[in-house]
Symmetry: C2
Subunit: 197 residues, 2 copies
């Protein structure tokens, strides 16, 4: 991906995080990215194209900052990986705050903007499957539907906690504690053969 294109997507994320999806105008995005509007149209076609690629950019960036350092020699620990991948979404650093704000805003806007829905549903499914896979490795005796349901709950809870944190209803440290406990609760349940139906 060209540097210019990445810079435009990074700027689009900032604009959405600052002014919401409705606040994203091509002219403002051009000013934020320091490029011409025609370059934006060249790369993304139209506003729908910008939103589509920005959602992708946000998902990829979250993948990156929630993936820890390469495993050292020694056994991997899926339970620890699971905790890390979820908790790293709740960090008070600019990139995460910006990414989470923009994601929450895209999610809320999809209620009003149907053209966002398919992309968002797809990104949600990918995320849920990734978490379900880690739950499966942490609890190999469990069933795939039980892991999938637990992954849906943990990721939906994370979205709920994240917007509470960002909207000032929940201190960050407490949000992290609630999420860590939820992982305990869900994995303990799975370990006892929690029903999936």
């Amino acid at each position: 991906m060209s540097d210019r294109r990445t810079e435009i997507l990074r700027a689009a994320t900032r604009v959405i995080a600052r002014r919401g999806v409705r606040g994203l105008r091509v002219e403002e995005l051009a000013a934020e990215a320091g490029v011409s509007t025609s370059l934006i149209y060249y790369h993304f076609n139209d506003r729908a194209g910008i939103l589509h690629r920005t959602l992708e950019f946000i998902s990829d960036r979250a993948d990156r900052y929630t993936t820890g350092p390469a495993p050292q020699d020694g056994p991997t620990d899926p339970r620890r990986d699971l905790e890390q991948i979820l908790l790293l979404e709740l960090q008070d650093v600019t990139e995460v705050r910006e990414n989470s704000t923009a994601w929450g805003e895209l999610r809320a806007s999809a209620v009003f903007e149907p053209e966002l829905r398919d992309d968002l549903a797809r990104a949600t499914h990918t995320w849920v499957h990734e978490i379900a896979e880690l739950l499966g490795r942490a609890d190999p005796a469990g069933t795939a539907p039980a892991h999938a349901a637990a992954a849906e709950r943990l990721t939906a809870l994370l979205e709920g906690l994240s917007v509470r944190w960002l909207s000032g209803s929940l201190p960050l440290a407490h949000a992290r504690r609630l999420l860590r406990e939820a992982i305990d609760v869900e994995t303990a349940h799975a370990g006892r053969g929690g029903r999936a139906d």
Copy 2:
């Protein structure tokens, strides 16, 4: 509360659910409610006053439709009450859909509009305490902090599931099933003396 005032608040909820908090303009609200803008200013002072009272209206309305029929003669069942009060937030009827859409939109907007934050945090606390109280009645041997933490998780999960449903990432019946299972998982955990720290 005067009928006119209630009608304006009902109209404000519809406008927020349809066009978002940023789409709420006093002129449009007046048209939607069929009243003059001066009557709106008379009752609510300014846009901040409208938002403040609309949030209150939405909370009160949710209280009403999540409170089931009066208990019949016989023992009350706090576990059943808990399930009812939470699951009735996930119903495909106009009032609930409108209320949940407006609530999700107010929550997402509070990230950008700091003057919404205190009201929203207060409404969230009230809701969490109500659920914690029911969890305490369902599990009298548990501790208050454990019930409070479970209540925070269940309500944040419900917010996360609700916006996924409304944004088309999750079918309603499945969202309801995930929430019902979460209540099972949390109450089973509490019943085994789940740690609160």
